[in-house]
Amino acid sequence: MALVEVSGLHVTATGESGEPSDIVRDIGFSIDRGEVLALIGESGSGKTTIALTLLGYARRGCRIAGGSVRIGAEEVTAMSPAELSELRGRRVAYVAQSAAAAFNPSLRLMDQVTEGVRMRGLMPRTAAEAKARDLFRALALPDPDRIGSRYPHQVSGGQLQRLMAAMALMTDPELVIFDEPTTALDVTTQVEVLRAFREAVRERHTTAVYVSHDLAVVAQIADRIIVLRDGTMREVGPTPQILSEPADAYTRSLLDAAAPKPQHPLEKAPATAAPLLEVRGLTAGYGPMDRQGRMATPVLLDVGLEIRAGSALGVIGESGSGKSTLARVIAGLLPAAAGTLTLDGVPLAPSLESRGLEELRRIQIVFQAADTALNPSHSIERILSRPLAFYHRLSRGEQRRRVRRLLDLVKLPMALLDRRPGELSGGQKQRVNLARALAAEPALVLCDEVTSSLDTVVGAAILELLAELRRELGLALMFISHDLATVRAVCDEVMILYAGQVMERGPGRAVMQAPQHPYADLLAASMPELRPGWLDGIDAVRLAEARGEAARPSQSDRCAFVARCPVRSGACESEAPPIRRFANGSTVRCHRTEQELLAQQSVRSDDAVVVPLRRLNH
């Protein structure tokens, strides 16, 4: 008999008006003991709601309106509150999405981890703490003997996530629910955490439900996949089948979005043409400077780049790398402390106030959070008309015409003109952001993580739009992201930032192939690929060496990456690394030579990043 049996599940929500609306309906599936089932879907698909019903829980304003959820021999929907308290955290455990928000900030970690067993009298304190420490070791947490005595704010996000898993496994539950546990983590941390989870689940033969929107991650850990959309099930099947032969159109669109194809390279502008934007030696940060020119909080150090008219530069970095600050400095929002910015050969003033209207017009910036980038009290028409009036001094009639053309350009319907931003979806808002930037008729658009907070399918549509706009308008782009695959799909050249410094820069293909900067290598290795077995194949030793948090930018004489570098040498600790030119066209900041790096890094062709399994089978 299957451990979990769900049938006819129906959950409704009561809105402000008092009318109930469906969140999920007609949900039915079963999970066998020891199996890992994944619930895949975008936001609003109902995946978390379904996962929570396995605990007999519905969020405020929602209720389980019908259907049955059976765990073992018991019907969860018919349980009393006391029985539910027994079920939750004991037979069924939950690992939440944001570990930082799941721990009580005023209680020590060990107390919270062992609470489940102690409050039920299952184990005395000493035994519980010993078991907890064993779990910490099994989950590869640093300092397992003492980490329990800390408070949540003293521990990093990736560690908190694993502590949450330890908390869940303490009671030896029959079923563990992982709710997007790695979504909020950096890519390099995600790999570690994923491995730890998978080991823990496999060793204990725990049944698990894994909720996610990331197909590549799910491919590593799940035996079966359910694809959800708008509260209904679209497709169910074993993982290899879903990935290679998806039957449903929506599943296919998810797969396509998860592995964006690199765009056709544009005709390259003649190399002799002067670059549109040139940045040299850019150093920026916050806080006062001391006499040696060191800033209190440096963010960018000695950054240099070039963007030619009509080309696209991708800037990749994890949190703390300074990538967003780079966009702000170029836009003039944050004046640089040192270095030069040149637009079409003419030096750009470091701060907004000193720039001319034309200079401001030619560089436009689009932010990540579409929600807060649009004034909620303005209509879309007003938002789009303003730059037209401000930069081009168009008459009212001309503004109206131009606004409509802009909406066409970003493929939005005219009906949106008199709506407020609050009435638009995430993808629509981002399109309006783009349209607003385009209204100025810029030469260069700085895109700061513009798809990062969107669903993958919606984000993929935005990327397509960007590519089209580049072709039609000859726009130059600086595309900032933490997602390697996205950047490769959109950009000709790629630049990798770490701790505020440029580690590698060059044509897309070159940066992703050996020889590369060790950090670039680590990034590429950490990006989950869409084939099962990728996680097994990772060089665990190499990843373990690179474990750790991103270094903070500092103006000292050493390589910023030295703490995590697998090929570090003596010189790396005491001297700033030189900038080398490699044969494949990239520039790399490293003490090691091209030959040394080539020898150490595995040869990885970039086709392996995108291999739909169906192609392999023919």
Partner: protein, 279 residues
């Protein structure tokens, strides 16, 4: 295009409570403006049913300690209670909002100095501040209005400043600045429209505080002076009516309570307390 369908436009419905509230405010304003014209007797007229008469058809609120019709006294007094408080509140909010936005946008020295001044004023309990001012300057109408306004400026300042700071941190403000917009445009077109609704609720609450302060002051004999009287002064002059259970002493106090409670409930309803279902 794979975007989800266009969401239906949310029609701005004013709830029943909101409509009732707006009607209420208009009624109070009307009372303040037209009160004296509605009064059956002039404020000073003595009628001949005796002092502290109980409620009757001819005199719905009875008579006061001199034998004057209470209904008329109340209607005349509405001008002072509602009108004076309204003027003071408008002054307080205008000052507070202007300074608050200035502080939020400029930061730096301006913010520090204004903040300290606000802290100092807020540290003086309102009634005590009123007492000090009255002791020094007397009880003329301009003094009372200015005193109430100044006493409540810091609260409005803090509120407006916090609001403006929150809005200033939003991305759309950065977008406007990146465009090259001047501060004046940013404040007027981008920040202010998002502040209007919360500022209105703050205005309403401040109005209630000012009414309570001024009527309290009058009750102590340090506010509106005879022969004029606001509702607080009416309570004071009829205080001996307590021993005769006369309506003359209760009605003005109840009138104040009705005014303040109705406005407070209106504000509370507007702030949108989320209706939650029991879990």
């Amino acid at each position: 295009m794979s975007d989800s369908a266009i969401s239906a436009p949310r029609r701005r419905r004013v709830s029943a409570a909101g409509q009732a509230g707006i009607a209420l405010v208009l009624a109070w304003v009307a009372l303040a403006v037209f009160g004296p014209y509605l009064a059956p007797y002039r404020a000073g007229d003595v009628v001949n049913v005796g002092v502290f008469a109980p409620m009757s058809a001819a005199h719905p609120f009875g008579t006061d300690y001199l034998g004057r019709d209470m209904l008329s006294r109340i209607l005349y007094g509405a001008r002072y209670t509602v009108g004076v408080a309204m003027v003071a509140t408008v002054l307080a909010c205008m000052g507070g909002i202007g300074l608050g936005i200035l502080s939020a946008v400029r930061r730096g020295w301006t913010d520090s100095v204004l903040g300290r001044a606000a802290d100092a004023l807020i540290s003086i309990p309102h009634l005590m501040f009123a007492l000090v001012v009255v002791a020094a300057f007397g009880t003329s109408l301009p003094v009372l209005i200015l005193m109430a306004a100044i006493s409540y400026v810091p609260g409005s300042y803090r509120f407006a400043r916090a609001l403006a700071l929150d809005i200033n941190a939003m991305d759309f403000i950065e977008v406007a600045r990146a465009r090259g917009e001047r501060s004046a445009y940013v404040v007027w077109a981008e920040i202010l429209p998002n502040m209007i609704v919360p500022l209105l609720t703050d205005f309403g609450l401040r109005f209630v505080f000012v009414v309570l302060l001024l009527s309290g002051l009058s009750f102590l004999g340090l506010g509106i002076q005879p022969p004029n009287a606001d509702w607080g002064a009416l309570v004071r002059e009829n205080i001996t009516g307590i021993y005769e259970a006369a309506p003359a002493v209760l009605v003005p106090a109840v009138a104040i309570a009705v005014l303040t409670i109705s406005v407070t409930l209106l504000i509370d309803g507007f702030s949108g307390r989320a209706r939650t279902t029991v879990r």
